[in-house]
Amino acid sequence: MKKLIYISIAVLIIVILVISGSILSAKNPVPVEKNNAVQEKVMQDIKTGTGKNDKKSENLKCTTCHEGDYPTKNDPLLRACPREHMIRDFKYMDKGPDEVVIDYMKENYEGVVFSHKLHSEMSAISTGCTGCHHYNTAAPILNCSECHDKNRKREDVSVPDLKAAFHRQCMTCHKQWSGDNGCNNQCHVRKGEKQIERKTSKGSSHPQLKEPGKLVYETNYDAGKIVTFFHDEHNKLFRIDCSSCHKKDNCVKCHDKTKQQGTDGKLKVQKSLDEHHQPCMNCHKINNCDKCHKNSEMAPFNHARSTGFALKSYHSSLTCARCHGNQMPVKKLDRNCNSCHKNFTTGFNHGVTGLTLSEVHKDMDCESCHAGKDFSKPPVCSSCHDDKSYPSNSPGNKGRK
Amino acid sequence: MIPAPVKHKFFTPGVFILIILALNGLAFLAVRFVSGIGAVTNLDNVTPWGLWIGVDVAAGVALAAGGFTSAALGHVMHREEYHVIVRPALLTAMLGYTFVAFGVFVDIGRFYYIWHPLIMWNGNSALFEVGICVMIYLTVLYIEFMPIVTERFIGRVNLPDFISFLNKPIDRALRYIDSRLSITMFIFIIAGVVLSTLHQSSLGTLMVIAGQKMHPLWQTPILPLLFLLSAIAVGFPMVIFESLFASRSFKMKPEMHVLSKLGGMIAPIIGIYLAFKIGDMFIRETFKYITLFDTPSIMFIAEMGLLVIAFVMFISNRVTHSPLGLFIASALVIAGVLLNRINNFIVAYNPYYNPVKYIPSFGEISVTVGCIALLVLVYRVVVMIFPVISQDKEDIIKKI
C-alpha cells in the first residue's frame, strides 16, 4: 500500500514537472522573439534611417555622407560633405570672392551677379556665413547644385530644387527690404535687354557700421522708468559677439523702406514681455527689476565701484574673460591674488608689482613680509626689522623690471 | 357629387392681376435666357442656390405632396369618401411638378442639357435621385391624369373640318388608352406614392452634403425623414386650402363633410413631424442657438411657431368644422412648410466665407411669383375644361 502511495507521489511530481516545464518552455520563446523583433527593427532603422539615434536629421541616409555604395574603413568614400552644423569654421573666409555670377539659366537670362563680399560683410551682424552656406565642409565651399537638384520634377522633394534654393536665400531678405517681388528689376535681366546699373560693383563694401555707445530706454515700468544699456561696453569691454544678441537681424532692420516713408507705425513689432527681456536675460539671469530699471541713467561700468577691486596697472589692460572665464554668468573671484596667480610662491617675479626686491629680500618666503599670505594688506617689516616700516622703507627698488 | 368641368366666367379682376404678374415674371425670364443667371439673380459663387431652388423647386415639390397623400388615401386605402379630393389634388400635383420641372429648367445653367441625368447616372448623388424620381413621377402623374382626358373626350372628339377625318381614329385611340389604363392604373398609383416618398425624402438629403456650411438648427442626418414627414403633413392642408379657395372663387358650396374629416387627420401627422423635429433638436442640443435671436433663430422660431399654432388649431373640432378655421389652419401649415423649405435652402446656408448675405433680387422674386400666377391660371383653365372638381348634380344642371 505504502509503495503505491510513493509511486503515485512520484508520478504526480513527474507530471507536475513535465507540465511546468512545458509551460516554461512555451513561455521562453517570447523574449527570444522580442529580441529578434528588436534586432529586425534596428536593421530596418539602419536601412531606412529612421532610428532613434538620428533625431536631429531624420532624413539622414547613407548617401548623405557616403558617395559610393560600399564604403570601407580605409576608404569611406565620404562626400565633400554636408553634415549639418558639424563644421562652423570657414577656413578660407578672407578668400571669399567679391562677386559670384549665377548663370544656370543662360538661355533666357543674363547671369545674376551676386555681390558676395558685400553680403558676407553684412552677414557679420546676423547669421554669418552659415546663414547661406548652411551645409559646409572644412574643404572649399560646395556648389549649391551638389545637393539641390536642377529639376523641379524629381523623386526626392524633401530638399528644395536649385531654383528654390537660390530664391529662398535672396528673397526672404530682399522681399522685406524692398517689399517687392519683381524679377526683372532686381536680379534677373532677360537676354538682350539692357543691363541695369548695379549699385554693387567689384570691391565695394558696406560702409563701416557705427556702433552706438549708450542707449537709454524709457519704459513704462513705474518703479524705474529708465533702462540704460551700454552697447559699447558689451561689445568692446565685455567682447560679446554681435550675433549673440543680433540673432535674426538683417538688412531691413536699417534699410526699411516703409520706415523711411514715415509709416513706421505699421511695422512695430509686437513683442511679449519675455521677448523684450530675452536679449538681456540670456546672460543676466536676475530676477529683480531694479537691477536695470532705475529712475535715472546708470553710470558706465566701473570695476572698482561694482566690485570694490580697482583695476590698476596690469589688470586694466586685461580682457574680462582672462580672469572671469568665457562662461556666462561670469566666474566670481575673491580678492586673493593667488586665486588667480596660482604659482605665486615659486619663481614669482616680484618686479611685476612695481617693486623689484633687493638681493637680500629676493629669496625670502612670501610670508616673511606678507603675514598670513594676505596680499591685500601692506607688507610688514617688523618681523625682522625694529626700526623700519613700509612704505617709507622699501625692500628693493621701485619700478618694474 | 360627380366631377365635372366648372362653368364660370374665366376673366375676373383677380385673373387680370395674375396675368400681369405672370407677364412680369416672363419678362425677367427672357432676360435670364438672354444674358445669363447673373443678370436677373443675386446669386454668386458664395450662394449658388437661391429663391428659385428654395421656393420654385423645394417648396413646390413639398406643396404638391397633396397628390400622393390623397392618392394613398383614396386609391391605396380605398377610402371612397375621399375620392372627391383626389382629382383636384392630382391636378395640383401634376401642375405643381410641371412647374417644378420648369423651375429647374430655369435655374440650371445649361437648360438645354436637362435630359443629361437620363443617360448620365451618379447613384451617389441625392440630386440625381430627386431628378430621376421627379421625371418619372411627372410622367406617372400625366398617365394618372389621362383617364380624366379620355372621360372628357371619348365620344366628343370634334376637330375642325379640315382634319375631321381624324375624329374617329383619335376616339378609338382614347378608348384603347382608357381600357388599358383602367386595368393597369393601380401600378401607376402605387408607383406614384413610392416615387413621392423617395424624392420627398431625398430632397432633404440634398442639403446634408453641405455639412458645416448649413446652420446647425437645420443640418441633421434625419433631414430626409423630416422632409418626408413635413411633405406628408402639408399634403392634406394643401388640398383643403385649394378646395376652399376654388369653391370660393367659383362660388360653390365648400365640401365640408370631406374636408372636416380630412382636417381631423392632420393634427397627428403634424404632431409626429414636430416630435421628430424637437426630439432631434434636443438630441443634437441645438436649442442653444434658438436663444441667440439672430436671423436664423428668428426664422426657426417662426417656422416652428406656425406649425405649432396649426397643430393646436387642428386638434380642435370647432376649427375643423368651420370653413374659415380650416382655411386659416391649413394656410398656417402651408406657410410653415414653405418657410421650412426657404429656411433649409436659403437661410440655413451660411458658408464659412460669406461676405454678403444673399437676399433674392426683384427679378428672382418676379420670376417665382410669375410662375405661381401662371400655375393658378393654368389650373383655372384646366378645371374649366376637364372634369376635375366634384359638384352637386343640381348645381351642374342649374348652371347649364
Binding site: 531654383k163 | 394613398a72 445649361r110 437648360f111 448623388s125 431625398s202 455639412g211 456650411k213 458658408p351 466665407y353
Partner: protein
C-alpha cells in the same frame, strides 16, 4: 434528402454573404480606386513670398485672359481678400504676420482635390471625377450647370459663369491634368520661385511637412491643413499662423460626402426599400379593395333583402 437541403442552405447563405460583401466593397470602392502613389502639393506658406506668379501661370495654362507677368508685382491687390472666380482658378491672399510685420503671410487658394470629394459625390450627372492620381476633374460635356457642386464643396471652390446664358462653365483648379498627362508639372508648381508649392506623392509630402514643422517648431503651427480635414485632401498647407486666421474653414475630419452617401445608399440599398414599399402598398391596396367589395356585396345583399321585404 436532409443533407441536400442543408447543403443548399449553406450554398445560398454563402451566396448571400458574398453578395453583401461585394456590395460593401462597391460602396467603399471610391477609396480603393486611388493609387498608392497619388500625388499632391504641399503649400509651405512660410516660404511663399506672395509674388503671385502662380496666378499668372495658371491663367496662361488655362487660356484665361491675363495681364503681363510684370504687372503681378503690384501689391495693391492684397488690400482685399480675394476668392477664385470664373476668371482665376487660384488666388493668393496676404495676411498680417504679428511675429514680423515686414514678412506677411501669403496663402494661395485653389481646389484642394479632396480624397473623398463632395463635388464628385454630389454631381447629378457625374461630371466630376476623382482620378486615380488624386486630382479631381470636371467634364464640361456632361455638366448641366446645376451648381450643386458649389453647394456641396466644403472649401467653396467651384465657381460659375453667372454672366453667360449659353454654355456657362463651372471652373476650378484641375491640377493641370492636361500638362501632367504630357509629363509636365502643374503650371503653378513649375513657376514658383521658392518652391513653396512642393509637388510629390501625398505620402511623402506628409512626411516632409512633419519634418519641416519639427525642424522649425518655433515658426510653424503644428497642423498640416488637409492631412485629415474632410477625410484628407491632395493639397495640404503648413503655416506660421492658425489656419482659421488665414480664412481656411475649420472643418471636421469625416469625409464631406460621408453622411449623405450613407443615407442615399440606405434608401436605395439595391432597391430593396423602394420595392418593399411598393409591395406593401400593393398588398394594402388589394386588402382594402377586397374588404370594400365584401362590404358592397353585403350592402347589396341587405338592399336586396330590404327590397324583398318591401
Amino acid at each position: 434528402m436532409k443533407n441536400l437541403n442543408r447543403r443548399d442552405f449553406f450554398k445560398s447563405a454563402a451566396a448571400g454573404v458574398s453578395m453583401v460583401t461585394i456590395g460593401a466593397a462597391s460602396v467603399k470602392g471610391a477609396d480603393k480606386r486611388l493609387s498608392e502613389d497619388r500625388v499632391g502639393v504641399l503649400v509651405d506658406t512660410d516660404v511663399c513670398v506672395g509674388c503671385r506668379h502662380c496666378e499668372w501661370a495658371c491663367k496662361t495654362a488655362h487660356d484665361l485672359p491675363t495681364a503681363d507677368l510684370d504687372n503681378y508685382s503690384d501689391k495693391a491687390v492684397f488690400k482685399e481678400y480675394r476668392r477664385p472666380d470664373a476668371g482665376a482658378l487660384t488666388v493668393v491672399n496676404e495676411f498680417d504676420n504679428e511675429k514680423n510685420p515686414a514678412l506677411p503671410v501669403h496663402l494661395k487658394i485653389q481646389c484642394m482635390h479632396c480624397e473623398r470629394p463632395a463635388c464628385v459625390s454630389a454631381c447629378i450627372v457625374g461630371a466630376f471625377a476623382k482620378r486615380e492620381d488624386g486630382s479631381v476633374v470636371w467634364d464640361s460635356d456632361k455638366c448641366i450647370g446645376c451648381r450643386y457642386c458649389m453647394v456641396a464643396c466644403p472649401f467653396q471652390i467651384p465657381t460659375y459663369d453667372y454672366d453667360k446664358a449659353i454654355q456657362p462653365m463651372i471652373r476650378k483648379c484641375d491640377f493641370c491634368s492636361d500638362r501632367r498627362d504630357k509629363g509636365q508639372l502643374p503650371a503653378c508648381v513649375s513657376i514658383c520661385p521658392n518652391e513653396a508649392l512642393v509637388f510629390g506623392k501625398r505620402v511623402d509630402l506628409i512626411q516632409i511637412a512633419k519634418s519641416r514643422i519639427k525642424r522649425k517648431s518655433d515658426v510653424y503651427v503644428n497642423h498640416i491643413y488637409g492631412e485629415n480635414e474632410v477625410g484628407g485632401t491632395s493639397w495640404m498647407y503648413i503655416a506660421s499662423k492658425n489656419f482659421d486666421k488665414l480664412k481656411m474653414p475649420p472643418l471636421a475630419l469625416n469625409p464631406a460626402p460621408g453622411i449623405s452617401e450613407t443615407i442615399q445608399h440606405g434608401i436605395f440599398a439595391y432597391f430593396v426599400p423602394p420595392v418593399t414599399l411598393y409591395a406593401l402598398l400593393g398588398l394594402m391596396m388589394w386588402v382594402t379593395k377586397r374588404r370594400k367589395s365584401e362590404k358592397n356585396e353585403k350592402l347589396q345583399e341587405n338592399n336586396e333583402e330590404k327590397g324583398v321585404k318591401s
